[in-house]
């Protein structure tokens, strides 16, 4: 008897939730658009912002969002992961307001989005510390990754077989590394991992392993970051344009950003974020870059 009542109660709750779901989805979007458009000149910003995309960028945006929400208590920002492709798809569908991406939208054949570059990420090849190499010529790096050099001793390192640790084909990190470190060469087959921490762990544990990582993962000495052609992988060298392997982190909006979006994007590029949160997470401030790059990879002095 009682169990039936519970059962029907459950059913009712479930159906109510489904109904609420339909309504809830609709209303939450309305408030976003409505409230942001209204609050034009007033200082107090309010509304809701949904962001998704690049898992690499997520921690940064999430940290900045937290600060931003502390300063503007009426604002609610949700930062989701999902990957660059997801972020780009969702922002162009209008499912989210901001889409985070490691790559130019053009590279994924998506157009009609407004690019907001919020950070720069430098990356370099990293090897197992026992390999005994700290510097590598770009030509050699290409040979290593294309499989022409198979043992580290050919480059004066330890007598260890080279193990490549790649990123998935569609990964932005892989695209950048191939383009700017390998000169567009396609790397030979190797272990493929998507996650930076896993890649780092593999490089650290596998003798003779080489992979590539963002500077943010190269803070300790569990793996050795390689200089390329004698240029050290440092923030200064990237900013001055000497170290070529880097990429923008983008926050895309669909059309010109609305007030709330603009306020948040401005905050992301403000010195507050650029000089405090960014460096802590190993990103380079986009504001300090002395060079610029477009979607096709052409680099120009600012």
């Amino acid at each position: 008897m009682r169990s039936l009542k519970k059962l029907s109660l459950f059913l009712i709750i479930a159906s109510v939730m489904v109904v609420a779901a339909a309504c809830g989805g609709g209303t939450s979007k309305d408030t976003t658009g409505g409230s942001t458009n209204k609050g034009t000149t007033t200082k107090e910003i309010s509304g809701q912002l949904v962001i998704s995309g690049s898992t690499a960028l997520q921690p940064l945006v999430a940290a900045a969002a937290e600060e931003f929400m502390n300063k503007n208590p009426k604002v609610s920002i949700q930062v989701n992961g999902g990957g660059s492709g997801t972020g780009l798809s969702q922002v162009s569908q209008g499912a989210v307001q901001i889409g985070n991406s490691d790559v130019f939208a053009e590279e994924k054949n998506i157009s009609g989005l407004v690019d907001n570059k919020v950070a720069v990420v430098g990356m370099t090849a990293a090897v197992n510390p026992k390999v005994g190499i700290k510097d590598i010529k770009k030509a050699d790096l290409i040979k290593v990754f294309t499989g022409q050099i198979k043992n580290w001793k050919e480059l004066g390192g330890a007598d260890q077989k080279i193990t490549l640790v790649n990123r998935p084909d569609s990964s932005g990190t892989r695209a950048v590394f191939n383009k700017f470190a390998l000169g567009g060469a396609t790397p030979a087959e190797g272990i493929t991992e998507d996650a930076s921490n896993t890649v780092k762990k593999i490089i650290n544990e596998t003798p003779g392993a080489i992979g590539y990582l963002a500077f943010s993962y190269l803070t300790d000495n569990t793996v050795t970051a390689l200089s390329i052609d004698g240029v050290q992988p440092t923030a200064e060298n990237v900013e001055s344009g000497k170290f070529p392997v880097w990429a923008y982190e983008h926050c895309y909006t669909k059309g010109q950003p609305t007030d709330l979006e603009k306020a948040f994007l401005d905050y992301l590029t403000s010195s507050d974020v650029q000089t405090t949160i960014l460096p802590k997470q190993g990103y380079l401030p986009v504001t300090k870059m002395q060079v610029e790059r477009d979607a096709k990879g052409n680099v120009t002095k600012k």
Binding site: F10, L11, A14, G24, S52, P59, A62, T198
Partner: protein, 295 residues
């Protein structure tokens, strides 16, 4: 003589197999608990996680895990029990029953990643909800439902036929018999099965990656209005569960204490599953006693 030797050898082999299974579990558990317990503390459980600095906890993730589980069970239990009752009591052998049974089996054997993809398409994109607890719970429902149906069906089948006949012979209708005789008698078994299924839901990550998302908005635990954006009870917010948290910090996390947090989380997860198990046994036997003895 030979047969006897073979018998002894075979017995030995079976004991070794049992021993291997037990030691695999003990090995896994002690590994996880040994590595994890150094980091589990009250503070670890009650601090929100951090995106960049060390010392983050798992407060929100822990809550999310239980909340997602709760919502999932809220949807699954009535549907699963209803489906199980249908299969056990109403389904007549025939084409429709065959189709339903095939559907249950297909749902049960679907890879969780396929369910995650389906959830992404259906509950995230198509509905326009984005990553939500509800989306995650619905995706988990897809793979928990067949388990619940099977548990209920088996439980009802294990109720002695006599009881059903007794009730029907007194002129009580079939539905009322199900409600008042079959389901109460099957309840301990359903409960145990349900709690065990809950353990599996609790640790699921692949399906949730694509549906409930990888982040948790700032939560205010004093806000109990389920429609408020910052309320933990809001089912239209993204929620990173414990299992997803382990996955995400291990893959992308920038915090310096990745190992500590993930080991600690794993230990908490395992302990919760252990708890579910003990709870299932305890409550099951308790209710069994209560139902058969005096009410």
């Amino acid at each position: 003589m030979n047969a006897k030797v073979a018998d002894r050898v075979a017995t030995g082999v079976f004991i070794v197999i049992a021993f291997i299974i037990v030691s695999v579990l003990i090995g896994l558990f002690s590994f996880i608990l040994y590595h994890g317990f150094q980091h589990v503390s009250l503070k670890f459980l009650t601090t929100p996680s951090s995106n960049m600095s060390a010392g983050g906890g798992i407060r929100d993730q822990l809550f999310n895990s239980f909340y997602v589980l709760f919502i999932t069970m809220l949807i699954t239990v009535p549907l699963g029990v209803g489906g199980g009752v249908y299969m056990a009591e109403y389904a007549r052998p025939g084409r429709i029953t065959n189709i339903i049974r095939s559907c249950i089996e297909v749902l049960a054997s679907l890879p969780s990643i396929v369910i995650g993809l389906f959830g992404l398409l259906m509950f995230v994109t198509l509905t326009g909800w984005g990553y939500t607890i509800l989306g995650g719970a619905l995706a988990l429902t897809v793979f928990n439902l067949p388990v619940m149906v099977r548990v209920t069906e088996d439980a009802i089948h294990s109720v002695p036929r006599d009881l059903k006949e007794a009730s029907l012979a007194l002129g009580i209708t079939h539905w009322h018999t199900i409600k008042t005789i079959l389901l109460p008698s099957a309840f301990p078994t359903i409960l145990t099965g349900g709690i065990l299924a809950a353990g599996r839901v609790f640790g699921e990550a692949a399906a949730l990656l694509f549906t409930a998302g990888l982040s948790t908005p700032r939560l205010d635990y004093t806000d109990w209005n389920p429609f408020s954006q910052i309320s933990p009870l809001n089912i239209f917010r993204p929620a990173e569960t414990l299992a997803v948290h382990i996955w995400s910090i291990n893959t992308q996390g920038l915090i310096p204490d990745v190992d500590a947090v993930s080991n600690g989380s794993a230990a908490v997860l395992i302990l919760s599953v252990l708890l579910f198990n003990l709870l299932a046994r305890w409550i099951g036997s308790l209710i069994h006693k209560k139902v058969t003895a005096t009410k």
